[in-house]
Each structure stands twice: as C-alpha cells, then as structure tokens.
Symmetry: C2
Subunit: 336 residues, 2 copies
C-alpha cells in the first residue's frame, strides 16, 4: 500500500495523497447527504458515515480514506453532552475536580460501536491499495472543548484551569488520553490501517506548556496505540514553534501545518523524519496552475524526508472548486 | 531612555518592560473608567484615552506607555463604519474592486486628531525616562477586519478575495499601507517616541502568502515611518514559521509571540537582532514564583540578542491578578 509504505519510510512509486476534511462540504454529493441528515445523525449512522467516507475516494484518486466522524463523538460517551448548532457546544463544561471525577470511562465498542461498524464497512468496500485512516482528538485539544464548553478564540477557561487548578486539569488530560487510546485501538481492530491524532488547538500553547499539557498526554496515547503495529500520525496545528519537540511524541508520521515551509520543517526535523503535509488550503481557492506549481514544490521538498504523505496543511475549505482538487491529486501523483 | 536604548541595541542598566494591553480590563481603575464610557468614547475622547494610557504607569514601574486606542480607529475614518458590540463588527465589508475604490484617504489630523491630542497630553505628563508608544494595525491584519466584516476564525472571505480577486486585495493592502504610514507619522509628530505595527492575524498565512500579503505591505509602511527616526516594532502574532523573513521588514525591533522559546528565536535571527517579548500571558494567571522563574529565563535569553525589550508574547488577560503584574515588573528589572 503506497500510503503505508510512505508512512514507514519505504520506497514508493509516487507520493501518496489524502486531504484533511476530504469528506466534506466542498463535495456536492456530501451536501446532498447532509440535506437529508444532521451532522450528528451522519456520525452515528454507520451507513451514512461510510458513504461520506467513500465519496471523495470515488471521485478522486486518493491513497487513503479517513473515516467520517468528529473528534467530539467519544466525548459525548464520556458523559459530557455535545450539541452541534452547527458549531459544537457543550452545555456542561468540565472545570472542577468534581467535574473530572464524574467523567465516564469510555467503552469504545459499547459507546461508539457505530464508528467501528462504519470502519468495518468502509474497509471491506475499499480497494486493497487504499488505506483507511481512523482518528481521535489529542488530549489537549479535546480538553479545550470540554473546559470551554465549545470552540474558543482566547481559551481563557482552559488557561485558567491549567494554571489555577493544575492537578484537576492534568487528571482531565489523563482521563481523555485513556479514552482516546482505547478508542483508537478499537478503530484499528475494526479496520483502520493507520490513525491520526488531531491536536488542532495545541499550537496556541507556549513551548513549555505545550510539552507538559499537549505533548506528554499525546505521547501516552501514541505509546499505547503503537503496540497495535499501525502507523500513528500526530498533527499539531501551528507546529512551527515546537517542531523539534514532536519526534519525542513517538509518532511515526509528523503532520506539518501550512504555516511553515515544508523544506524548512524537514531541515529542522532531520532526514529521518516521515512527514505529512502541507499545501495551504487557501491556495485551493485559486488558479489550478498555481496549485500545481506549489504542490510539485512540496512533493520535491518531501523527497528530502525519509517518507512523505502529501496533504493540505489544514482542512480543505468548503468553497474549494472540485476541479482544483482534481488538479492537486493529479499533480502530486505526476510529480511524486 | 532605557526603552529607546534597548530598541537601538545600546547598553542598558536593566531590561526595559512594557506589556501589550497594559491599559486594560485587568485594572480596576480601567474598569471604573469603562463603567462610565463606552470603548469608542474612550478612544475618541483625548482626556479619557490619556487617562487609560497613564493608569498602568502610575501603578507599575513600566518603561513605556502605549497610547490607548484600537487598530480599527483609522478604519472608520477611511469610510468603513466600525461598531464594537463588544467585538468589532463592520457592517459594510470591503470585498470588491468598487469597495476598494470607494475608500477615503485618511487625513490623520483631520480624522483622528483626538488620537494625536491624547498622545500630546500623555507625552507632556509622562516622566522623561519613560517612552510613549504609538501604534497601528499592519495592512494585512486591518484588511482581514475590513474584508470579513469583523473578527474571524477561518478568514474565508479574506482568503477568497486574496486568491480570486488578487488585484483588488493588493490594492486594498496598498490603500491601508498608505493610511497607516501617515497615521503613524502623525503619531510621531504628536509625541510618540516609538511605534508598533500589530500584525495580529498574519500568523494565519502560509509563508509565501505571508511574504506577499503581509510582509511586503508592512515593509512599505515601515520604510516610510522610519524616516521619522524613531524605532519601529513589528509584531507578528504566530511568527514562528516565518521568523527568518522578519528582519527584511526593516523594523528596528522584532516582536516575538509566546509560541516559540525566545532563545530559539534569537538563535534563528542571529545576534544582531533586537527583540521584544515573550512571556506567555497564560502564566500571568498562575503563581508568582513561576512567573519570576520564567521571566528571569527570558531576560537571560534576551541577553544573547543585540537588544531586548521585555513584553508578554500577546496581550495580558483580563483575569490577571494585579500582584502578578507587580511581580513580573519587579523580576524583569531585578534580573535584567
């Protein structure tokens, strides 16, 4: 499998590509599905989640599918209700020692069996040459949603709990790490060929807080999941300031967001790193010739690493023209 | 003046310090002012703006005051109405060539004379040993507000205009650069000893887009303002991915946000850089002994640069305890 070869740093015939949020709103067939079901229904109904997962694979020559779901799906099962209206809102935020103590232990098969069922269904209908990626939110990122009660610009509640109630915050991270480890293990058992840990908001931390409150708990998830023997990708959005710290996470593949040049990132990581990334999703709104130029530059830069999985440096934007996605996939496989 | 000496890389008796958003909501006397006037009234009334500017200087041994204002004050004068409710909202966003063509040319004395009056008043009552800093938003950051119609998490409208209407977007940046250059020149004439250009959202760009749409227009402001002979500070929030590009802005002082270790930043910039930063504002919520430890580490790291102005790596949080600010200022002057 081209994708797994790249993740392991083995030779590949060309650079594999998948795209964060590839099963999403830029696809008319996705909008069609969404017009008939809510986002939550789609996450919780295996046939719908499997359909959304496979849509981009039917349209584009992508080397991996990523299961359609949301990082807050297992949070609900930990006893913290989540609403999508459409932004996530958690009406009972977790802010005290008592709140943390009241969290439920995730039973991935019992609580999120629908995710596992969707994975099994996708894996059985996906060509053997294409990988299936499972995912979870990294502990820090999941904690921000739990503590803030939703998304945030300033993370004031999270920062306050981190600084003024450090023991409870650290316990919360540990509880989330335990849940995400078993959740990812179950996804692998259900058919995932690789898993990605999304640390979408860890880039808002200073380096010392990043190491303590994001990297350490992420490492505890990665160490356990790695025993399953499938590649683990760790994606920190806004990684530029802490790049040198990421290899110590133990991840097989280091996700690079778009706010750093990939060749500079590889220089800083050294030639033994396997990287994933990092075309700016903004470029996907523009002319296809520019996309081809930048994509081939990124493919070339990726050749300096031990392995390279092409991706965007963040999720694809909902207004991206389909033909630009076609141009991107074509160019990566051509240049790779 | 200790602050100006540090900006110029001259020897100092100790490290100077000021704090972004030091005239703000963590101060009870500021909350008292705000309880009697709206934010906009405070910006537009020289006596109130001067009072807010001076409040932190009376309380703490800070080496510089920064004029109380908002980066959107001159935007209103360019013909784009701004409301603060309390987040900024611009009900008539600028998205087309026609919108850009309709912008007014800023006349800083006519349109924003109240800012100049506040600067003059503060300068005359400030001790000669303390500096007065003027400021403006950098073109890219101001453009995001104009195009989005307010703050944004995804900057989708800005990215779309940037990619699909590049000529109009570039014209918009130029119009803003022209306005901010004359606005800063007038602030210097009115009494500012130094000026800071805030590129709060430029850290959301990929490096090539950063260079083209943030750095180039910022440079055009800085080049003109530097002819006035006062130091220019360029602060890019989220600078870690593009740090090596910043010296080409021509700024005298490079602002470093808190998401990179200062010693690593100085290593990448080289020993001839003058830097400002970069304690994580989150730490200001925690115990004072931790603040002292990290602050003295940052002071020590700053000694590797040609000059260092201590600051937080982003604005002070409104829930910061006063005694932590006292501990910070004391520690910086003690360790510096």
């Amino acid at each position: 499998m081209r994708f797994l070869d790249a993740c392991a740093g083995r030779p590949v015939d060309t650079t594999p590509i998948w795209v964060m949020r590839q099963a999403g709103r830029y696809l008319p067939e996705y909008m069609d599905l969404r017009s008939r079901s809510s986002f939550v229904e789609m996450c919780r109904t295996p046939s719908l989640a499997a359909e959304a997962t496979l849509q981009p694979i039917r349209r584009f020559d992508l080397d991996a599918a990523i299961i359609f779901s949301d990082i807050l799906v297992p949070v609900e099962a930990m006893g913290v209700p989540v609403e999508f209206i459409p932004e996530p809102r958690l009406p009972h935020p977790v802010r005290t020692r008592e709140d943390v103590a009241a969290l439920r232990t995730l039973d991935p098969l019992e609580d999120t069996g629908f995710v596992m069922e969707a994975l099994g269904s996708v894996r059985s209908s996906l060509e053997p040459s294409r990988a299936l990626i499972g995912f979870a939110g990294a502990p820090y990122t999941v904690a921000t949603y739990m503590v803030e009660g939703g998304g945030s610009k300033s993370y004031l509640e999270t920062r306050t709990m981190m600084m003024q109630n450090t023991v409870a915050f650290t316990d919360l991270l540990q509880r989330i790490a335990d849940a995400m480890a078993v959740y990812l293990e179950a996804q692998i058992d259900a058919g995932a060929d690789a898993v990605q840990l999304f640390d979408s908001w860890a880039g808002s931390l200073s380096p010392s807080e990043f190491r303590r409150f994001a990297l350490d708990p992420a490492r505890s998830v990665i160490e356990r999941v790695k025993e399953k023997g499938v590649p683990v990708i760790y994606f920190v959005n806004g990684v530029a300031g802490v790049l040198e710290d990421i290899p110590s996470s133990g991840a097989d593949v280091i996700g690079i967001d778009y706010r750093i040049d990939l060749d500079r990132a590889i220089d800083r990581l050294g030639p033994n790193a396997v990287v994933q990334g990092n075309l700016d999703p903004t470029l996907m709104l523009g002319p296809a010739d520019r996309i081809r130029t930048v994509a081939s530059d990124i493919v070339r830069a990726g050749m300096k690493a031990k392995g390279h999985v092409f991706n965007l440096g963040h999720g694809i934007l909902r207004t991206t023209p389909i033909e630009n996605m076609e141009a991107l996939v074509d160019e990566v496989h051509r240049a790779g």
